[in-house]
Structures are given as structure tokens and as C-alpha cells.
């Protein structure tokens, strides 16, 4: 397994995560106080893994018979997943009590899904991608239906399950065809021999199926249909994880498997495909979001349009673009988590206060919360000096470098459209009289998570260079 102690050390994030899952299982079974211990254990576990990954980004190596990569960007992805999941854990604690859906499994499955994401980011073999993807997806199906007494949650879970498994079918079949034509599942081998393999029709079909399957996972138009329904139906905190961790993980797998091809000798053959779906996703997401009245659905469409911006980076495919995509994923994770966190706080029992209009006058009743939400909305809309602006900026600049100026311009137009529905919430909160008495149960843990996200969003906006430098060092 490991050739030396250093390799073992490099694999520690995965090992700690796996060990943590086993310990959580034991806590869940044997401790009477698991309701108190488990959430905080989970949050600390995520924090520990995230910080460990961030500190040891220099440990670049390939371990386990060329199956897993460690260090570098992989660790940065780890940090995005785990720190994001830590925030999700924090906002979940009181939310779960509010909906009376405490099952110990909640935190356990949160952990397994994160382990799945980490495997996807670390994959050096299609095998591992598949395993990670399934670990994450199956955990997500369960999380979506966690509140099993509610019909909406059931429905969200079923839809997610059917569409997700359908996509998995595509991916597995694609992998099978790739294996048949390339005689191996090693990503490095496939990418180095890519140009030669493309003459084989089976191989091309396999890659196509693989791409289509992943387009499902990143929620790009026209494979986005599950997104609004699942986000609306499942618990807000879980939707937060789907929209951030799930999306980042899918992007990390695409980057892990295809990045070497983007700058290969044959050029980026995927550019037309990515360009088309990015334009469709951006505009579909922004335009339909305007017509939404439910804030969770609005955030779902916004996440589709953000997927569009991210795919611009894949279409550009150069080093700066990938750095931009990773920066954007980091920024997007925290701004979206913050926004979902606030939605989960404002949300009353039995799904009240989910209408956008119920945010009217929030600023007069809960000024601090309104200020935080405004920052997050501005960041999502891409207003400087918040993180969202720099994410978009780096991606658009990289697109221009790759002579995709038209795509960057469409991206700017789409962000202008999307600014409308983000700013509308700010306007509602500050300039409309309150129609709602906001019976908001305060939750210190959720506030901790939200404030942390906002601080990260602001810090990434003020010092984007430091994070970007960290990423570019390994690309």
C-alpha cells in the first residue's frame, strides 16, 4: 500500500476521515449523549481534516499503486469540502431539532458523503472516481430523504435517486467502454495516449457517456432538472451541502480526469461542448431564477447559473482558468453555505418563511442577519470587493486568454441579469415594510457557521491573491 511513512502521512486526510466515520458509528451506538457529542465531533473532525489538508499542501505524491494523488490541489479540494461540511454541520444542529428529525445517521452520512467527495478529488483511476461518486451520491440520496415523514422530502429523495442512478448508469457504461478501448482504467495512461485512442469509436462513445454523466452531477443545463426539485424538497441544510460540496466534488473529478487533456497536444477538444452547455446553464439559471418565488428554488437556479460560469473555466481550460475554477468553487462554497444557512435560520417550522416576500423588512427586525445576507447576496451577484467578484473575474480573464472573449462577454451579461434577483432580496429586506413577525429561533452554532462563511467570503474578496497563489503553485 504505502512505500514509506511519508506516503502514509500524505494520505492522512482520507485515513482520518475514514477513522472518524468508524468512531462516529461507535459513538452513535454506545453513547447515550450522542445527540450532543456527535454534531460537535463531526464539526471538529471536518475542521481537523480541512486544516491538516491546508497545512500540508506541499506533500505531493501518488500513492496506492497509482490510485490516489495527494497534496497540492487535491488537498485544497479536501479543504473546500471539509470546511464547507463543517459549516453545514454547524447550521444543521439546531435545524434538525427544529424539524424534529434527529437520527444519528444524519452526521454519519454527512461524513461518508464527504469521504466520497475526497476520493473523487484524489482519484488517479476511473475506479476511484466511480467509488467516490457512488459513496457521495448514495449518501446524498439518503440525506435528501432524511426527514422521512414529509412527502416533499420523499419526493426529492426519489427524484434525486432516479436521476442520479440514471447518470451513474451512463458513467459506468462510459467507463466500461473506455476500459475496453484503452485496456486500463488509469487516468494518466488514458490522458497521455488520448490522441491515439480517439480513432477508436468505442473510446469516443465512452468519453461522451462519462461527460454526460458528470454533466448531471454538476447540474449543467440540460441535465439540471433534478436541482430545483431536490433543493426545494430536501432539508435546507442538506441542500446547502448538495449545492456546494456536491458540485465542487463533481468539478474536482472532472479536473482530475480531464485537466491533462485540456492542454494536451491536440488542444482542448471539449471546448465546444463545454461552451454550449455553459451558455445554456448561465442564461437558463439566471432567467428562470427571476421568476421564482421560493427562495430555495431561487438559490437552486442560481446554482445552475453558477455552474455555467464554472464551466466557462473548463471551456477555457488553461492553467489560469482551472485556478479560477478552484478559486470560484472555494468562494461559491462559502457564499452559498452562508446564504442557505440564513435561509435555514429564517425558515420556520413547517416550511414557513420560504417565500422571497417573507424577507421583506428583515433589516428592521434582524439587522445583523440582514447585513450578513446582503453581503452574501452581493458576493453571489459578483460585486467587488467580495469573493464572488474575483471568482468570476479570474474565470472571465482566463476565457479571454483562451480567445473565448464572446463567452466571457455572455458571462458578464448573464451576471448582470442575475444581479437582479440577488439585489431584489437586499431591496426587500431594507426598503420594504415588514409583513412578517419573524419568529426566528436564535441558534449560536448556526450563527457561528454563517459568520465564519461571511468572514471567509470577505477575506477572499480582500485578499484574493493569497488563495489564488496557493492554487497556482500546484497547477
Amino acid at each position: 500500500m504505502f512505500n514509506n511513512a511519508q506516503e502514509f502521512f500524505n494520505t492522512l486526510p482520507l485515513i482520518i476521515m475514514g477513522g472518524g466515520i468508524v468512531i462516529s458509528l461507535l459513538i452513535e451506538i454506545y453513547s447515550d449523549k450522542n445527540k450532543v457529542i456527535l454534531p460537535w465531533f463531526t464539526a471538529l473532525l471536518f475542521l481537523a481534516v480541512g486544516l491538516h489538508s491546508l497545512f500540508y499542501t506541499n506533500d505531493v505524491s501518488i500513492v496506492m499503486q497509482n490510485m490516489l494523488a495527494t497534496g497540492g490541489n487535491v488537498n485544497i479540494f479536501y479543504a473546500i469540502f471539509t470546511l464547507g461540511a463543517a459549516v453545514v454541520t454547524l447550521i444543521s444542529i439546531d435545524y434538525i431539532k427544529k424539524y424534529d428529525m434527529y437520527f444519528g445517521e444524519y452526521y454519519l452520512i454527512l461524513q461518508t458523503s464527504v469521504l466520497g467527495m475526497m476520493l473523487m478529488a484524489a482519484a488517479k483511476d476511473l475506479f476511484v472516481i466511480f467509488l467516490g461518486l457512488e459513496l457521495m451520491s448514495i449518501s446524498f440520496y439518503i440525506l435528501a430523504g432524511m426527514n422521512r415523514k414529509r412527502a416533499k422530502a420523499n419526493e426529492a429523495s426519489l427524484k434525486y435517486f432516479l436521476l442520479g442512478s440514471f447518470a451513474t448508469g451512463f458513467i459506468v457504461y462510459g467507463i466500461a467502454l473506455i476500459y475496453g478501448s484503452a485496456h486500463t482504467t488509469s487516468i494518466d495512461f488514458i490522458t497521455t495516449n488520448f490522441a491515439g485512442l480517439t480513432s477508436n469509436l468505442l473510446f469516443v462513445a465512452g468519453v461522451l457517456l462519462f461527460l454526460i454523466g458528470f454533466s448531471f452531477k454538476i447540474a449543467a443545463f440540460p441535465f439540471h432538472m433534478w436541482v430545483p426539485d431536490v433543493y426545494e424538497g430536501s432539508s435546507t441544510t442538506v441542500a446547502a451541502l448538495f449545492s456546494t460540496g456536491g458540485k465542487s466534488a463533481a468539478f474536482s473529478a472532472i479536473i482530475a480526469s480531464l485537466f491533462a487533456l485540456f492542454n494536451g497536444p491536440s488542444g482542448n477538444v471539449f471546448t465546444p461542448y463545454f461552451a454550449v452547455i455553459s451558455v445554456l446553464s448561465m442564461f437558463y439559471g439566471s432567467i428562470v431564477a427571476i421568476a421564482q418565488v421560493n427562495i430555495k428554488r431561487m438559490l437552486a437556479y442560481s446554482s445552475i447559473s453558477h455552474a455555467g460560469y464554472l464551466i466557462i473555466g473548463l471551456a477555457a481550460g488553461n492553467h489560469d482558468a482551472i485556478a479560477g475554477v478552484m478559486f470560484y468553487l472555494g468562494a461559491y462554497t462559502f457564499m452559498n453555505l452562508g446564504a442557505f444557512g440564513i435561509v435555514s435560520l429564517v425558515e420556520g417550522k413547517n416550511e414557513t418563511n420560504l417565500d422571497i416576500n417573507s424577507y421583506a423588512g428583515l433589516a428592521s427586525k434582524k439587522p445583523f442577519l440582514a447585513a450578513l445576507l446582503s453581503i452574501l447576496m452581493f458576493s453571489l451577484a459578483g460585486v467587488p470587493p467580495f469573493a464572488g467578484f474575483f471568482g468570476k473575474y479570474y474565470i472571465f480573464i482566463a476565457a479571454i486568454e483562451s480567445k473565448l472573449t464572446w463567452l466571457a462577454i455572455l458571462g458578464v451579461i448573464s451576471s448582470a441579469i442575475s444581479a437582479y434577483f440577488y439585489i431584489r432580496i437586499v431591496v426587500l429586506m431594507y426598503f420594504k415594510p415588514a409583513t412578517n413577525d419573524f419568529q426566528i429561533e436564535t441558534s449560536n452554532s448556526a450563527m457561528l457557521g454563517i459568520i465564519t462563511s461571511v468572514i471567509i467570503v470577505i477575506l477572499l474578496g480582500i485578499f484574493p491573491g493569497s488563495f489564488l497563489d496557493l492554487i497556482t503553485r500546484f497547477i
Partner: protein
Amino acid sequence: MTETGIINISLAILFLPLLGFIVTLLLGKKIKSIYLFEVFILTVTLFAAIFVAFIKLSYYVDDRIIAEIQWFKLSETISIKLGFLIDNMTVIMLFVVALISALVHYFSIAYMKDDPRYNRYFAYLGIFTFSMNGIVLTNNILMMYIFWELVGLSSYLLIGFWFEKKSASDAGKKAFIVNRVGDIGMFAGILILFLTYNTFSFESIFHSIAAGKLPFNSDFWLTMTGILLFMGAIGKSAQFPLHVWLPDAMEGPTPVSALIHAATMVAAGVYLTIRIFGLLTADAMMFIAIIGMLSAFIPATIALTQNDIKKVLAYSTVSQLGYMVMALGIGAYKFTFFHLVAHAFFKACLFLGSGSVIYAMHHEQDIRNMGGLRKKLPLTYATFLIATLAISGIPLTSGFHSKDGILASSFAFGSLTGNWIFAIVGFLVALMTAFYMFRLVIITFHGQPRDQHKYEHAKESPFVMVMPLIVLAGLSIFIFYTPNPLNADEGWFISKWLPAPVLSAPNNTRFDFMQETAGAVTHNPSHGTITYSESYTEAMHGAHNPAMILALVLALSGMLLAYIFYQWKKINVDKLTQAIKPLYTFSLNKWYFDELYDKTFVAGTIGFSKLIGWFDAKIVDGIINGAGNLTRLLSVFTGAFDRIVIDGIVNFAAYLSGFIGLIFRRIQTGKVQTYLILVIFSIIILLFLFND
């Protein structure tokens, strides 16, 4: 101690006050005595500043230490950097800011002790000190601008600290708005620089200018850039015509006036102009000199007649700042900075002294109700007197040297270029300064008490308030700057600590005496020094003694006049004012600047909007009505066109996105299989599209 050490300590000096601000603000409501933390932080900052100044001035006196980190990248070639530039001016300014800030903290402990928002006050002082240190330390104009605005913000917060008083909150607003006028110019200047040079760093900008790269390739735009940047200084340093906010800013607590509106923040404008000195052309310098001259002269005449102790000091501050700006405009680079430092100390001393008086008199500010306080407040009186001597330019004080240097330079400038106006105004202002300052001292401290009741209750302020006065008065003595009580040119401050300015504006745009002559010494844009031409040195040499004697005579006669008028009462002041009543009222009413601005800009804006309204109501409507009456049919027609086509288009555009959204959301039927069919359909289309 290495250069890295100096940079690290400077970082600490910058951020410690911010820490103080955050802690004090957050815990202010919970812990009553948290202000002590802020005071402690400032003490630490002060020691760090002393240490850094000592190290820099003794071991690295010829070095310019620059530290830069990348903030973020805009593109491959353009990256925005944050950085420090630590030269001798920086460390001296750091020391000045830290010292006065710390002393004001001590002073405030007693002065503000009854205030309900005690802790918040100290927090504001902390953020002010942070922002001021940022201005001092930065090596680029962008950071300068950011901290510039932060300083403006903290000044606004502190002026309006007693916001229950309408005059105070109005004064805060006025300061903020007037400053914005200047900042717009500064921002435009920064934009021009950035567009031309793709960098914000002073160093690189000077380098590029010296290499011959000019904004829009024209000398004119280089001049304009200098003037635009200087507009920021006009606002912040309260120069004519934007000086109106500073006297009103005296509504803030007196220690704040000492820190912000006398010693440090208002000096930031001068500091900025010193920093951009290298890119100023002769035309820009002439503009600066004229602005400075007007700002020196007009407020000095106003200060002659004011009766509020703080107002007199405020106008004197504007006048002295004008002096500095004028000096910079005529090329007296070193003496400007000297006067900046000297003025910071003695003006802070005067303000804190006035604070002490006001404290003793239970918030009485009108000098006509004071008098005879010399006996009640001996220490305040002594320190106030020393500072007054310094500002009047009496020998043995710092003010004597700095003023003398500026006057000698104006003399030299006159003899070299024929523009004697600056010298004349300079000497006139020196005369007036001595007069109004001694008028203030005599009326406040000498003679008989005019308000017996308040006089009875007055007593010397506590130690925490007197100690800062003593320190500041001490620093107004010449010995800290030069060993020779009559000539500072050879002293360490001028000859060792301050390097000659580095000029980078093209040779043909400079004043004759600042041009590089063939075979002249070094020209190294980053470290080199360009000495002024020999004729300038000669002129300075020749000007020195006459200027000193004339300045001394004028200062003494101003002093004497004050004694004649107010101490010995040889001339009846009232009669005199009656005799020159128009002049007197003109001065008393501050040349009617506020009224003028109210009548022109404020009323103008309101009037303009009224005019537009009237134009709308009468002319536009009239024409439309007339046209409508004449061609009723046509107007009905256009009306219909308006309603149907124009409104239609507008509404259509407004709701188009909404409509499209509404249509598209119908795709989302909620049925899994519809989704899947759409997916398969799209896959087929995509395959068809990329079928190659």
C-alpha cells in the same frame, strides 16, 4: 536589528491600534475599564515607534526600506501590491503620530471621564491612529487612498461624537462632504496614474516618469495629475477654498481637535504632497504655492478677530498648513516637513492647553469670559506660552527654525524668479500670527478675570492632562532639531535626516533653479538626490540672514502690538474696531465664506433643481400644451403611439426576462420522466452538433 526587523515592528505599529479598536469596540459595553487596554496599546505603539525611529535614524539613516507583497493579480502584467516605504520621513511621522496619539489618549482619560460613550471614544481614537499610520507607511497611492478615506471616516465619527448636538452632527457631515469634493480630484489623479503606468507604487511611477513616460504623453497632463492629486490635500489639509470644514470641526471633543484637526490628519494632505513632490511640474507647484498662500493669508486675517479659543487655533492651523503648502510650492521641501513636525507638536500643545483651559472653566470657550488664568493654571499657562512663542517664531524654539527656513526660501524664490508675492505674504502672515497668538494668550491668561464665578472654580488640571502639555512644550524647543539656536541648516534634522527630494518631472517642466544642469551630480531615480542648482544654494545663503532678521522683527512687533492693544491697553481696541468696522466685521464673519457657499453651491444646487422643476412645469409643459392645442389630432396620435409603442417596448423589456423565466419554468413539470426525455432529446441534439 535588520531591515526585516524594522518592517516587522512597523507592521506592529500599524496593526496594534486596530487591535485596540476592535477589542475596545467589542467589549466596550461589557467591560467598563476596557479603555485602559486601548491606552496600553497606544503606549506600546509609542515605544515601538520610538524604537523604530531610533534604529532607523541611527543605523539605516541613508536607506529606503521597501517591503511589498502582492495583493492580487489583475492580469499577467498588472498586479496590485501592498507595501511599505520606510524612509526617515516615515519613521519621524510614525513617531509624531504615535506620540501625539498616545498623549491625547492620556489627556482624554481625564477630559472625557464623564462621557457616557467613553469606551467608544477610545475605540475611535484607535481606528484613527491605525488609518493615520497606514497613510504614513504606505508605498503606493492606492493604499494611501484607502487609508485616506478611513481617516476621513474616523474624523467624521469623532467630530460628530456628541451627535446629540445638532451643530456637532452638522459639522461632521460638513467635514465629510467637503472632503469628498477634494477626494474626487484625488481619485481622478490616481486613475490617470494607474491607466498610464499600470501600477500604484510611487517608486515605479517616478521611475517611469523619469524614463520619459508621461500621462497621455503631454506635460500638461502631468501638471494636471499633480494638481488633481493635490486636490485631495486641499480637502484634507483644509486649504482654500475647502478650508470651511476645519473651524466647524471644533465641535468635536478638544483632544480630538488636537490629534486630528491640528497635528496629524490635516498634515496628511501636506504629507501626500511631499510624497508626490517628485512628479510636480513648475506649473503644478505654482498652483500649489498660490493655494497655500491664500490659505495662509485669509485664515490669518480671520483669526485676528475670533473670540472662541478653539476657533482662533483652528484658523491658525489652516493658516500654518497654508504656510507649509506654500513652502512646498516654492520648493522648500525640507523646511516644509520640518515645519510639519514642529507645528504638530506646538499646535497639539496649544490645543491640549486650550482643552485644559476649557476643562478648568467648565466648558467655557469664549475668551471674553476668561482672563487672569495665569495664576490659576500655572503649568497650562507656561506650556501654552512656550508653544505660542514657537508658533510666532521666536528664537530658541522649533518654530523659529522652521519658519525661518520657509521665509528664507520664499526670499530666495523671489530673487530667483521675481515672484516676491510669496515672500511678502509669508512675512505678513508671520506678523499676524504673532499678533493673534499673543492676543489669545493675553486675553486668556493675563489681566483681570472677567467671569469671577468661573474663575473662582478654576483649578489646574490633573496630572494626566498636564503631563502631555509638558512633553509637547518640551518638544517645541530647538535642541531636539539642531544644536545651533540660530541656524538649523547644519542641524541633524535638516542635514542628516531629510534627504533632498527626488525629482522626476521632465527637466523642461521644472523651475529653472530645480533643473539638472549639465554635469550635475547623480541622477538615480530610486535613491539618488538631485541638489538644486547652485544659484539656489547661493540665493538661500544670501536670503538666510535678512529673512531671519526680518522675521524676528515682525514676530516681535506682532507680539508688541498685542501687548500694546490688550495688555497695556495703550490703544482702545473698541475704538479701533469702530474705525475699521467694515474690515473688522468682514474678518469676524470669516470673509463670509460659509454664507457664500450657502448662497452659491448649496443654494445653487437647490436653485438649479427648482429651475429644472420650473422649466419642466412652465416651458416644457407649455410647449407641449401649446403644441397639443394646435395640433390636437397629432397629439392624440402621438399619445396613442406613446402608449402603445413606447410604453409597450419599455414594459416589454422590463418584463421580458420575467416572461421568459415564467415560460421556461414550465419545463420543470415535476415529473421525472419528462426530465429524462428532455435529457435524452438534448443528448441527441448535442451529438448532432458535435458530430465530427
